[in-house]
């Protein structure tokens, strides 16, 4: 049943020799990275604020912790998703030979 067959994609496995055709250059612009100790700092700050500040400041500080934790977790997911260099190349150069797609 066509339902069960996943659409197959065939790509030449061996690297094709680099053609002399001009290929669009990808500017390497990277997403911001959270600082490694961002969570620890934010948690410490939240605990300080809750001990000494107003309840609003306390809530805002813990909300901050949540935002930073979420950003870190999203970065991890995004990194895992962007790990195939061929996929990224083909996204930018869909007409390159290496990115041909065959359908049955």
């Amino acid at each position: 049943m066509a339902l069960l067959a996943r659409s197959t994609v065939a790509r030449p496995v061996a690297r094709a020799p680099v053609s002399t055709r001009v290929v669009s250059v990808r500017r390497v612009v990277v997403r911001s990275t959270p600082e490694p100790a961002a969570v620890e700092t934010a948690i410490k700050e939240a605990e300080d604020k809750c001990a000494s500040g107003t309840s609003g400041e306390c809530a805002a500080a813990w909300d901050n912790v949540e935002e930073i934790s979420a950003a870190i977790s999203h970065k991890k997911v995004a990194d895992a998703a962007n790990s195939d260099p061929l996929e990224q190349f083909c996204d930018d150069n869909p007409d390159a030979d290496e990115c041909r797609v065959y359908d049955d």
Binding site: L3, K75, P94
Partner: protein
Amino acid sequence: MQTLNANRVRATPAGLQARSRARVCRVQAAKDGKTVVIGLAADSGCGKSTFMRRMTSIFGGSAKPPAGGNPDSNTLISDMTTVICLDDYHCLDRKGRAEKGVTALAPEAQNFDLMYEQVKAMKEGKAADKPIYNHVTGALDAPEKIESPNILVIEGLHPFYDERVRDLLDFKVYLDISDEIKFAWKIQRDMAERGHSLDSIKKSIEARKPDFDAYIDPQKKHADMIIQVLPTQLVLPTQLVPDDEGKILRVRLIQKEGKKLFDPVYLFDEGSTISWIPCGRKLTCSFPGIKFYYGPDTWYGEDVSVLEMDGQFDKLEELIYVESHLSNTSAKFYGEITQQMLKNSSFPGSNNGTGLLQTIIGLKVREVYERITEKEVVPVS
């Protein structure tokens, strides 16, 4: 490699040429007609949520941030849909909120006037220069220009809070996670991070709860469809292995009745109450099995129909078996739901009710779009 929509092309030189010509153009298809606006209320951070990815996958293409723009943009653009994150309308950045002592959940931190102005502009077909809230730095970055799409999805904490914005929405979805599940998911997400402990996770949730209950939760009465994620009832909490906590889920899809733009999905007999365990002689399931419930109910005074799934899918055949017994799913061919679930099998929730019911909501969004624009959307295969 992402294949295009249903039009398959023979791998002949002419075909490939035509295909590559068609592919080179990454610009969104020219919009001719109405923009349908969907609102999604969720506390899970923007644009990257699984729900959003499932919904946009129904319309084809893969959702990416605007090409050549700020890499920290929260906006996701695919062939027919643009998803914008309402955090971009924060009027107070992290520093500002700390100074004033308000959380990101409070209405004081949002610029509802700008939100209304720009959603209205995009609905009318105009582009908008939308601010960007950078979740990593906590600051507001320079605005990005967003063109008006076929389907605009606004996702965030306050899509239905402001009445003017609410009136612009054609379809509203609210994702309601119960406290126990929220806690279990946050533990799984954060415990590996240095600095976090069970205690800090608990404090973080508790500190946000008052604002959440005051400002976010009341929006759920306005939604057309609500997904509730609750702990399973198939297994006693004491019997649950810690690893399974937050994984075996009871998921309820609450659908408002009497809406012109969509028909609620039902099981066997519309309007009746059904309790269904598909596992038995025809279908063998492994522990803890699957249990469905369907029935009428009321939600904040309005009539609704509830479709509920508790348990986990283990095999493909369970999924297709269940799909074949559901009615009014808005699927365009037999097995479309199963196919979407397979396509997105790496997403979290692909083996339980969250994946199934979110996929169904995606199909309902397509139905809403077709009814408003009176155009047909070719199913992605």
